[in-house]
């Protein structure tokens, strides 16, 4: 992270990303929000059209504000393995994996993606800031950790035609890039690092360049994308797509443990549906391992995260979940009517055994604001599998041209 110059950070606390000129030019309604200290589009022109670009064509979202740390050195693998819950020795150079990291008590500090560029160089991308934790975790390791959020401009290109956009933009060999692969490409906009990752559950890519190449990259994609109906999108559309994909988000579906003021808000990976990440059997010790092993052995999880299919079509945002319509057993963390699967979907944090062994007779109390009046309804909810939407095109290699 660059040190702020006097003034610029308080006269304009929300900084502009390297792509800002292009997004600002497209923006019609000035619907911005603050993401990690950056001005980020909530909606650029039309939320619904932006959403359908993700599912129907190609969408371009500026993910530069995502917090990024460079982790490099002889002990980088050992360090990442100790830091995060997954087995990093299985992450080969040129690959990315989704992961999470915990405190001593096994409570989740954040989730994110870990990129491995070489045997000794990694990048951790996440929502929250963790520099002190990352540095303290590095005691005893030969590894360097740097905050590089500002050194890297990033775009997320997602949607069925995203492959075609890249192919036409001159990303030679992009068809062989498998899900969670990373590769560097020489392009007209200079060298670009591409990973086949995303937050939409659809076919998609994330592209990384130094800030001074950012506009060239945008223009390259934008030009090539015209035939493939590329649309610049804001966070609102992405948020809906990620819910359909069943992805969780720090600050929305769980509270990062170090910043949780109320102790009962903290969650272990098992309690937010991330138990599958936890490699208790990996050879190295990792943060929270002892607590997580004990929790698992005793089956002592207090919460669980479930996907709900709710009756009716009124989104259940911020609603409480009841058992038999009476006992409060959980709350909705994210909810929407899914335009793609045509279901009223939600993620909910439940208090066990509800949502785990007691799965029937669940009800959601929805308050819907209709012409200034809240209309209250108690509707049935069923626990269903995540993701709500999982198209084959997401993982096909080579990807099809849609």
């Amino acid at each position: 992270m660059r040190r702020a110059l006097p003034r610029e950070h308080f006269e304009k606390p929300l900084w502009h990303t390297p792509f800002h000129p292009r997004i600002a030019a497209l923006m019609t309604h000035e619907q911005w929000y603050g993401w990690g200290g950056y001005l980020s589009p909530q909606v650029i022109r039309d939320e619904e059209m932006e959403y359908f670009a993700i599912r129907n064509a190609a969408s371009l979202f500026d993910v530069s504000p995502m917090v990024k740390y460079r982790i490099a050195g002889p002990d980088a693998e050992a360090y990442c393995d100790r830091l995060t819950v997954r087995d990093v020795s299985k992450l080969k150079p040129g690959r990315v994996h989704y992961t999470a990291w915990c405190d001593d008590e096994g409570k989740v500090l954040d989730d994110g993606t870990l990129f491995r560029f070489s045997p000794t160089e990694f990048r951790l991308c996440c929502q929250e800031r963790h520099l002190p934790w990352l540095l303290d975790s590095a005691i005893g390791y030969d590894v360097e950790i740097a905050e590089v959020t500002e050194d890297i401009a990033a775009l997320s290109l997602q949607g069925p035609t995203s492959y075609a956009v890249l192919r036409d933009a001159g990303f030679a060999g992009i068809e062989t890039l498998k899900p969670f692969d990373i590769r560097a490409f020489e392009t007209a906009a200079g060298p670009v690092t591409v990973s086949r990752t995303g937050f939409t559950g659809d076919l998609g890519y994330e592209l990384f360049v130094p800030p001074d190449q950012a506009l060239a990259l945008w223009d390259l994609l934008w030009t090539a994308g015209q035939l493939h109906r590329i649309v610049a999108i804001g966070f609102a559309a992405l948020d809906l797509a990620r819910l359909e994909a069943g992805f969780i988000m720090a600050g929305s579906d769980f509270v990062p443990a170090e910043h949780a003021i109320r102790a009962d808000r903290r969650r272990s990976p098992y309690e937010i549906g991330l138990g599958w990440l936890v490699a208790l059997d990996k050879p190295r010790h990792f943060n929270g391992k002892r607590a997580l092993a004990a929790e698992k052995a005793k089956n002592a999880f207090r919460h669980c995260l479930v996907a709900l299919d709710i009756d009716g079509n009124v989104p259940a945002e911020h609603a409480l979940v009841y058992h038999r319509g009476k006992r409060e057993v959980g709350h909705i963390t994210a909810a929407a009517w899914s335009p793609t699967v045509k279901r009223n979907i939600a993620l909910a944090s439940m208090t066990r055994p509800y949502g785990d062994t007691v799965v029937n007779d669940l009800w959601v109390e929805i308050y819907a604001l209709r012409e200034l009046v809240y209309s209250k309804s108690l509707v049935r909810a069923r626990i269903v599998e995540r993701p709500f939407f999982n198209p084959k095109r997401r993982s096909a290699t080579p990807p099809g041209v849609f």
């Binding site: 303290d136 190295r284 010790h285």
Partner: protein, 536 residues
């Protein structure tokens, strides 16, 4: 030659390591004790200062050797005897009016002092002894977990509550009021005599990073007063043969219970396999395996250096790196070609403990310098003349003098050899003022700042207690939250040194408690099933 196999390895041959090894040996374990130096004893050693002169290298008084350690290890049978018990403390004054606190913690005041002052002191002394008495039983307790600890832990906490209640209503109120006070305020309320105030304040702050006016400095006095020597609470004693005699008795007890002692065997790392400690690797590269490792070394050293942060969670590493452990006491040992000429003090006075601090405020001023990394211009001294009690420690007619000087910052700002020498000169200047001519009698000397103590004894910060004795680093929080019960996150690895509850001083109490925890953990495990019955 087949390596003999051991049930347990104790790392570090200071008094706590020796006590732990001996206690484990007594419980039937086959124990190997490893010490990096050429001799056991750590900071409780008696060493040669010059031919014929022997001095306590660091610790020079016995005031808290735990009676349970003495009893269980039968240290008297192993040669522990006292050359003097119930040592008096004399608060020296340059104008030749020393005040002597005779008996345990000034049971009697000797010197010219107002009657009202004697009465006030007797009342205050009684109160302080009663209050520290409430805490004394906890010196030999495994600290409870703050939460989810189980019934035994609730009982321990209940006992503390009951102990306070048993004081009676007025004392209980006083206890709850005073517990976090500073010693200066306590003395301001009751005592006016500068010599007495200085002597008591000195006892409260010696070995800590507190000045008399720092809140919580009464607690460190309680810690001191909770100890005992030869069965008398708050008393101070000198073992026959110097402090090294305690070490010798512990070593003898250890050997008698089958402990194998290896000196010159520094441990480079602790072996960890499958989340448990399985042995140690020596500096030589030699690997020694045992299912149990007890470390009497500093907790942070043990876990961060010998085990390594890779086996620990980051939160714990963070806490360990933040343990405050910066020593404040320098040690000056002198060999003299004659008796030290202290003004106004007879030969009898030399057998006691001497304190030079003109006033409580002078100690506070001395402390102020240390806050900024400067040594005190007017250091306060605790002086003993071990050879006055035990003539065998020096050639006939000659003497050794052992001095603790406060305050000596761990790191001088700026850090320089010249600064170190200048501080030594300041100490000698104070000494000269109280004992004119003493300088010309010095035939040999050894000066140790906290940094020197760290170097010689692998004690981080050169801190007597292996970690400041502040409330946030005491009892259930010593050395840090999560390690206070002597066990570590690694199965089979325990802490048993002064960095653990109750803290430093030549007490053996951390070892006593650690061993009780080890044995409790061993119950029911196949590893120790055999050991239990072969109690010797």
């Amino acid at each position: 030659m087949p390596t003999p196999s051991f049930d347990a390895i104790v790392v570090g041959g200071g008094h706590n390591g020796l006590a732990a090894a001996a206690l484990l040996g007594k419980a039937g374990r086959r124990v190997l004790l490893l010490e990096a130096a050429d001799a056991v004893g750590g900071a409780a050693r008696t060493v040669d200062l010059a031919p014929g002169f022997r001095v306590p290298e660091i610790a020079h008084l016995a005031n808290r050797l735990h009676p349970e350690v003495v009893r269980r290890l039968d240290l008297k049978r192993h040669g522990l005897a006292f050359a003097a018990t119930n040592l008096a403390t004399t608060s020296l004054s340059v104008d030749g009016r020393p005040l002597t606190l005779a008996g345990a913690f000034g049971e009697r005041l000797e010197g010219d002092i107002a009657e009202a002052e004697r009465v006030a002191w007797a009342a205050l002394r009684g109160k302080l002894l009663r209050f520290s008495g409430v805490l004394a039983p906890f010196l030999s307790q495994v600290p409870p977990r703050l939460k989810n600890g189980g019934i035994a832990d609730m009982m321990t906490l209940g006992k503390l509550g009951l102990g306070i209640r048993r004081l009676g209503r007025d004392d209980m109120r006083e206890f709850l009021r005073m517990v976090l006070m500073n010693i200066a305020d306590v003395l301001d309320e009751e005592i006016t005599d500068d010599r007495l105030r200085a002597a008591v304040a000195f006892d409260a702050v010696l070995g800590t990073s507190l000045g008399p006016r720092s809140p919580n400095s009464l607690m460190t006095l309680f810690y001191r007063l909770a100890g005992q020597a030869n069965g008398v609470q708050a008393a101070t004693a000198l073992p026959r043969g110097g402090m090294g005699a305690v070490v010798a008795a512990l070593a003898s007890a250890a050997t008698a219970s089958g402990v194998v002692i290896r000196t010159g065997a520094g441990v480079a790392s602790i072996l960890v396999e499958d989340d448990r400690a399985t042995g140690v690797v020596l500096a030589s590269g030699e690997e020694i395996r045992a299912p149990l490792v007890a470390s009497a070394m500093n907790p942070a050293t043990t876990l961060l250096s010998l085990v390594g942060a890779r086996h620990l969670d980051t939160g714990l590493v963070r806490r360990l790196t933040h343990v405050r452990s910066k020593g404040t006491v320098a040690k000056l040992n002198l060999a003299l070609d004659g008796p030290p000429p202290f003004t106004g003090l007879g030969a009898e006075g030399l057998t006691g403990r001497l304190v030079t601090a003109p006033s409580l405020q002078a100690i506070e001023t001395a402390f102020d310098a240390a806050k900024y990394g400067r040594y005190s211009d007017e250091p306060a001294l605790e002086i003993t003349v071990p050879s006055a009690t035990d003539p065998a420690l020096a050639p006939a007619g000659q003497h050794v003098v052992s001095i603790n000087a406060i305050y000596a910052p761990f790191r001088l700002k700026p850090d320089s050899e010249a600064g170190r020498e200048a501080f030594e000169a300041r100490i000698l200047a104070v000494l000269e003022r109280h004992a004119p001519g003493i300088g010309s009698r010095i035939v040999a000397k050894d000066f140790l700042t906290p940094a020197d103590i760290e170097r010689r004894h692998r004690i981080p910060g050169g801190h007597w207690h292996h970690g400041e004795l502040s409330i946030d680093q005491m009892f259930m929080l010593r050395p840090v939250l999560g390690l206070a019960q002597y066990a570590t996150p690694l199965a089979g690895l325990y802490l048993c040194g002064a960095g653990s509850h109750p803290g430093g001083g030549v007490s053996g109490a951390p070892a006593l408690n650690a061993v009780s925890r080890i044995l409790a953990d061993g119950k029911g495990s196949s590893l120790f099933a055999a050991g239990g019955k072969s109690r010797r």
